[in-house]
Symmetry: C2
Amino acid sequence: MGFSTDDALAPKVSEGFHLSDLDPATTPGLSADDNLDKEFAQHDDELGELQENLFASKAGSVLVILQGMDTSGKGGMIERLLKPMSPLGTRVVAFGAPTKEEREQDFLWRVRPHLPKAGEIAVFDRSHYEDVLIQKVESMADPAEIERRYAAISDFESEIAASGTTIIKVFLHISREFQYENLVERLTNPEKMWKYDPADLVARSKWEEYMTAYQIAMERTSTDDAPWYVIPGDDKTYARMVVKHLLVDALRDLERPWPGLGEGVDADEELEKLKKS
Amino acid sequence: MGFSTDDALAPKVSEGFHLSDLDPATTPGLSADDNLDKEFAQHDDELGELQENLFASKAGSVLVILQGMDTSGKGGMIERLLKPMSPLGTRVVAFGAPTKEEREQDFLWRVRPHLPKAGEIAVFDRSHYEDVLIQKVESMADPAEIERRYAAISDFESEIAASGTTIIKVFLHISREFQYENLVERLTNPEKMWKYDPADLVARSKWEEYMTAYQIAMERTSTDDAPWYVIPGDDKTYARMVVKHLLVDALRDLERPWPGLGEGVDADEELEKLKKS
């Protein structure tokens, strides 16, 4: 296997990173003779074990934030990522357009109740970043408010990280051409039509503005506590594998010895009681 | 395959059903030459398809209520049941002992916010039935209040069913001997010790009282809208397969043609716009 996690981590956003330099059709770290299917399957058992260990130890929690343009494969990514793990310790939260009630509050208000508890892994399908992406591109908030939000997000995430949550922020970076193919599929395959939203074309027509909004948002909020990873997304299998590696890495850091029986509980005594019961 | 869904449905609770007549170690409907692994895998693709179809059509929702004594395999059941489906349309809710705030409300208060939305499948890991099971056995509520709750539950569930939710209530029926083996495993396997709770022995010591409480609760609340199924649970693989069959049946009834594009949206027009974009 020529693929290493370090290679996958290459597209971490830090000073000097430019989105426009990264081709969505590339697969950094992957050599031609790698077998993606095998790479993809190999960590599934470990992922299941590590998630159960975290659920048992409650040594921390993990928050994966997934962002991407329409049809970038967020749904499929979430399915594949969570499949090896127990639904009892994992949770997906999809953030749609805010409701009237949500719009009347600060933009972070609706996010807080969905943060992972100790032992949990939560995946956000879109997130509070929409408030500095679509809201910036569509001028739904004024520039000073957008500016305030970058700082508010960094404070918010640093507080979450300090409370024991590992934050992984992923931008699934697809090309405009790849989106074209995906939209054609939605418009022509009867089983996919329900996913098509005419508003997708509006966002598509402002592609460069979105890329600029992503670039700025990531620059302003990629920190050691809550780094952004930009994953080339035109090869879905590759993207899924990279994100899985990121999660495995995070969970390995959180692995602890299995908790024993509760304090003051003695195995032999309990076995005696059990035998007599 | 000698196993049919009708056979699996045999242990549906209706008049004259007695829990004590059903041996937890049996596997009704299964003949000796059936290959359980194959049976178990065969519906996974269909389950994934049907769940996505429900998510798309929003033709209804499904609520699976799982009850059982400690170590009856509810966790493993949930994992295997949900694995073939997307976490975006499925949800697990584990009901533990009620908090102080919850105890100050009617017992159904904490349940309502977790009901599945249209298109969703929710699985309750324990439920409002605890309020007529442990609360009855441990005399945590007086008999008149327990009596009131049976009727309140039936009204509640019939209201949910009328709003479009298919309700499947499952009691995983294990034997006292099977629980013994499972508790020994928890007390001796270092990776399982965290699951052991000394309180399990208290419930175990009142086994017959629990069986009586289950019998009465199921008699009083098994309706056409919200039937109870008693699944012999000593053979975990068998129990999982039967519950999967129940879910497949429910989802087949909810299957609808795939929704098309939104009203007034024309595929050819959109394709034209897309090509020019």
